[in-house]
């Protein structure tokens, strides 16, 4: 929703006056009220600025409509956004048509290819989850390229065949026209599909396949379209086999060289050289995603993201507007029942056939099989959308005589697929899923062993190397690490992203633990209470906390029903037996902390909003709350020993984690960035006078740090943000965190000889500070602070 708010006020301010003018103009056309002098000025200006004003007006209305639309979440869940846009387009088209009795716009190739299409494609590429995409690239390519070609060819041919049989009546169409039509109608629209998939929560493999397919087949479609278009232009007689091959050859050319140019330049350059511009821009987006984020500061990164979303959304809106307008324009309306019906039938049938065949072929090669339900979703989810319509509108009437027929058919197809299929796919999937899943809660053993099996399997996959993928990937990540990253990313970003990430993870895991410990102290998690209270946290929790804060968090947790199951239920379950509580807590703890193998991630992508990870807000909330709590505990229990603030070069606590990340992090001694000194030492130390103030400042800073991208993957074990591809919750090897302001702040040096929370490090490997007793952990006071650069 916030996305929409921004363009609206601006646009509003810009348009307040011209709207008045516009209205006056439209009425002015039909009446001769105004004097000629005034009328002339107005009319001259109107024609001069007609186009942009109408576009802006449309966007304004669309944005308003979207806001209203999103206000009602019930509606959003049922109706896909594309459907709304179409209806809106219809509505507006009706208005414009009623007002002007003319179709005020035609979609020109220039406008489409240079202004409307690039944002959409770039947006999709930018937000594409990289690893997943490239991991499944083979599958995606197969579906995208071959699937689209198959769909186009079969649809075109069948329609031609039917035409020959005469059912359609007399039409002035040739085979090529049919092929052309087939190619543009085969384009599955990513937006519509994703809008649906958002709610359906399919597994990530399916998601990335469909998403990738829809993205790439835009490219394929456009290329096919161009190919056939030029064939049509040349006339059917002149087409030779050579041309066919040449045309198809375009599809295969992906120029990685262009990827690194600025997105739009890459697009244009590719256009210049007659290469596949869409693919160029897609991959540019994919690469940009990684490097841009590391190189630019927070605000700019956010700006880029939002701008991209806005542009893409705007483009989409405009295209659907055109659709709506064309729909109500009776001049171009040609109805041919047979053609339309048959088109619908053919595209559905051939899609199903195509999907089934390809899946059958692919399942021989894939480790993860695609099941029936996946295939159903893929076939049924083949919604056509904006691109198809745009392409058909671009057809040259002189070359394709029956353009109007095509346009009308396309409109109907788009309407049908988006509205009907869009609305029904969710219930369909839910019905299918419900049929297949069992609702038995798996036992502890099953969970554990199941998880162990997953790990083993993924380990063996890694060891065995999936069909050369890993080899390429390893090579690429080596290359990336050694060369590209150094060149394209700021040094600080490289180093800090991992370490800060870990620190944040630790911090928040720590919060989680202390939260559980709190609950334990309140007596509801009795079984966790250990005999050795040395291990328990030392901060005095007995200071009364404002209960409102807790209540808010618990309410937050309850209503969000997120992946974090911090046993708030356990706190309520005093009535239940200890046994039940134990079980629940155990399950919840397990669910939260059990390491997940890398394949279990759900990705959310939306053309229309940047999905704020719900957990993020909640994590921040928890985080802030814990920070506040700590401050209070400090204030109440400080022993009066003042420690001067010192800059601190701290050792990386969790060397185990560091080592695990392999070569990625440089040897520790090289780092010059300040990291948090062991955070819990800070917080558990009971003598921090200035520390308290300092922390207070830090907390305040943090609170205002709205969109710094604080990433708490520890809590987002199940969900993921759209732009992040996360690995195991607390270890991500992608740069998902830009160091926030907090990270750049230096924490005071924390002296030694205080008791701390010492959860045992469970793995023997790491030299984790938590394990070591106070002795070796004593940091010499003479430790000189190092300056930081960040």
């Amino acid at each position: 929703m916030s996305l929409e708010m921004r363009p609206v006020p601006l646009a509003e301010r810009l348009l307040v006056l011209p709207v008045a003018l516009a209205q006056e103009k439209s009425s002015g056309d039909h009446t001769a009220v105004s004097g000629p002098h005034f009328f002339q000025i107005v009319s001259f200006k109107w024609h001069h600025v007609q186009e942009p004003y109408i576009i802006a007006l449309w966007i304004l209305v669309a944005s308003l409509a979207k806001i209203v639309f999103h206000l009602s979440h019930k509606v959003t869940r049922v109706v896909p956004e594309s459907a709304l846009l179409i209806v809106l387009g219809l509505f507006l088209g009706g208005i414009v048509w009623a007002a002007d009795h003319i179709a005020s716009f035609t979609l020109t190739p220039n406008v489409f290819f240079f202004y409307l299409l690039p944002p959409i494609v770039l947006d999709a590429g930018y937000f594409m989850p990289n690893k997943l995409f490239f991991g499944n690239l083979g599958t995606i390519l197969l579906y995208a390229v071959i699937g689209t070609v198959w769909n186009a060819a079969t649809t075109g041919m069948s329609l031609y065949g039917v035409y020959l049989s005469g059912i359609m009546g007399q039409l002035d169409i040739g085979l090529l026209d049919f092929l052309l039509f087939g190619s543009l109608i085969a384009a599955v629209d990513p937006v519509a599909v994703l809008a649906v998939f958002e709610e359906v929560h399919v597994n990530e493999v399916l998601f990335i396949i469909v998403f990738g397919e829809s993205l790439l087949n835009d490219a394929v479609t456009v290329v096919l379209y161009n190919v056939f278009d030029s064939f049509v232009a040349m006339g059917a007689d002149n087409v030779t086999g050579v041309d066919c091959v040449k045309g198809i050859g375009h599809v295969r050319i992906i120029e990685p060289g262009f990827v690194f140019v600025i997105s739009y330049l890459s697009y244009l350059t590719a256009e210049m050289l007659s290469l596949s511009a869409i693919l160029a821009i897609t991959f540019c987006g994919v690469c940009c995603q990684k490097y841009v984020k590391a190189n630019i500061c927070d605000q700019s990164s956010t700006t880029v993201r939002y701008t991209m979303k806005m542009l893409a959304s705007g483009s989409e809106t405009i295209i659907f507007m055109f659709l709506g307008i064309s729909a109500v324009n009776p001049d171009i309306w040609t109805w041919n029942t047979a053609f339309i019906l048959l088109t619908l039938v053919f595209i559905s049938v051939y899609r199903v056939i195509g999907v089934v065949i390809q899946t059958w072929v692919l399942n021989h090669y894939r480790v993860i099989q695609l099941e029936i339900i996946d295939q159903v979703v893929m076939s049924y989810g083949g919604l056509r959308g904006a691109v198809a319509f745009a392409l058909v509108a671009l057809l040259d009437e002189k070359k394709v005589k029956e353009k109007n027929l095509f346009v009308s058919t396309t409109i109907i197809v788009v309407f049908f697929t988006v509205i009907f299929q869009g609305l029904t796919i969710k219930p369909l999937v839910q019905w299918l899923k419900v049929k297949r899943s069992e609702h038995r809660e798996p036992k502890l053993n099953e969970k554990l062993h199941g998880r162990a099996f997953d790990h083993i399997l993924s380990a063996v996959e890694d060891i065995s190397g999936q069909i050369g993928h890993n080899y390429l990937r390893d090579k690429w990540s080596n290359f990336d690490r050694k060369i590209l990253s150094k060149v394209l990313m700021r040094r600080s970003a490289q180093k800090s992203r991992d370490q800060i990430l870990n620190i944040f993870h630790e911090l928040n895991l720590k919060d989680a633990i202390s939260y559980v410990a709190e609950g334990e102290r309140r007596g509801s998690l009795a079984f966790i209470r250990s005999s050795s209270t040395d291990n328990m946290v030392n901060v005095d929790f007995s200071t009364p906390r404002p209960s409102t804060v807790e209540a808010s968090v618990s309410c937050l947790l309850r209503e969000k029903a997120s992946s974090v199951c911090l046993d708030m239920q356990a706190l309520e379950q005093r009535r239940k037996s200890i046994r039940d509580t134990e079980d629940t807590v155990t399950h919840h703890t397990l669910q939260q902390y059990l390491y997940k193998p890398r394949q279990e991630h759900i990705h959310l992508y939306s053309r229309h909003e940047i999905i704020q990870n719900e957990d993020e807000k909640q994590d921040k909330e928890i985080f802030h709350r814990t920070m506040r709590k700590r401050l209070e505990s400090f204030k109440s229990t400080k022993l009066g020993i003042n420690q001067p603030k010192k800059l601190n070069k701290s050792h990386k606590r969790d060397r185990g984690q560091k080592r695990v990340r392999g070569v990625r992090l440089g040897p520790f001694t090289q780092t010059k960035d300040v990291e948090f000194s062991d955070p819990e030492e800070n917080y558990e130390s009971l003598h921090m006078d200035k520390g308290v103030d300092f922390l207070a400042n830090v907390t305040k800073q943090n609170c205002t740090d709205a969109t710094s991208g604080i990433d708490n993957p520890a809590f987002s074990a199940d969900d993921d943000q759209s732009i992040y591809m996360k690995f195991p919750p607390w270890l991500s090897d992608e740069d998902s965190v830009v160091p926030s302001q907090r990270a750049r702040v230096q924490l005071p040096y924390s002296p030694n000889n205080f008791r701390r929370l010492t959860p045992f490090r469970l793995s023997n490997k790491s030299v984790d500070s938590f394990l070591l007793a106070d002795g070796p952990e004593e940091r010499p006071r003479a430790f000189l602070p190092e300056t930081t650069h960040m």
């Binding site: 036992k443 502890l444 053993n445 554990l448 062993h449 998880r451 162990a452 099996f453 790990h455 083993i456 399997l457 993924s458 380990a459 063996v460 890694d462 060891i463 065995s464 190397g465 069909i467 890993n470 080899y471 390893d474 630790e506 895991l509 720590k510 989680a512 633990i513 079984f527 966790i528 250990s530 291990n535 134990e582 079980d583 155990t586 703890t589 397990l590 902390y593 059990l594 390491y595 193998p597 890398r598 969790d654 185990g656 984690q657 695990v660 990340r661 392999g662 070569v663 520890a714 690995f727 195991p728 607390w730 270890l731 959860p759 045992f760 490090r761 469970l762 793995s763 490997k765 984790d768």
Partner: protein, 180 residues
């Protein structure tokens, strides 16, 4: 790959012994070479070359399983220091999918082999039994990426799971009785 081409009988032997097809063996051979750095044998350290494996919490157990002599069918216990390609294949063969053309007995045997492999992985002291301690270790390792999870929590989870299993069969988990 040139070396194996000159010895097709060996490959055939391997194929018969482990049940892989020729292409699979070739693929695995390539992978073996990649992991071992063109050495004829693999050591534990070689597995460090696989970056993705780093993230796996039970990595040590899995790698260990490769060197476990019980899995290699060489001895009732102990660890080998290095394994050659044939051993590598032997271990990998545990992960072959069940084929349609197996009969009951083969299927049964196959499943047992897989279970035994897993059992060996859990049974770190090689005594043929999984004690509570060992079970706890496994659970801890599964949760080990989280440095803050208190040992008590992990322990209680393991206890809970053990008790659950105990409700099905009593006492220590002995190989043949292990119900998953």
């Amino acid at each position: 790959m040139g070396s194996s081409h000159s010895m097709p009988e060996e490959i055939q032997e391997l194929a018969d012994k482990t049940g892989f097809t020729l292409e699979q063996i070739e693929h695995l051979h390539r992978r073996f070479k990649q992991i071992s750095g063109d050495q004829p044998t693999l050591r534990k350290e070689s597995f460090d070359r696989i970056p993705d494996l780093e993230f796996n919490p039970i990595r040590s157990k899995i790698v260990r399983a490769f060197f476990d002599k019980r899995n290699l069918r060489q001895a009732p216990d102990g660890l080998a220091d290095e394994i050659n390609f044939e051993d590598f294949l032997t271990i990998m063969s545990y992960f072959r999918p069940i084929e349609m053309n197996m009969d009951e007995e083969q299927l049964d045997h196959f499943r047992k082999e897989k279970l035994k492999f897993l059992f060996h992985m859990y049974d770190s002291d090689n005594d043929g039994k999984i004690t509570l301690q060992e079970y706890r270790k496994v659970v801890e390792e599964l949760l080990s990426r989280n440095p803050h999870l208190e040992k008590e929590s992990a322990r209680s989870i393991a206890d809970g799971a053990m008790m659950e299993a105990a409700s099905i069969c009593v006492g220590q988990m002995v190989g043949p009785l292990w119900v998953v």
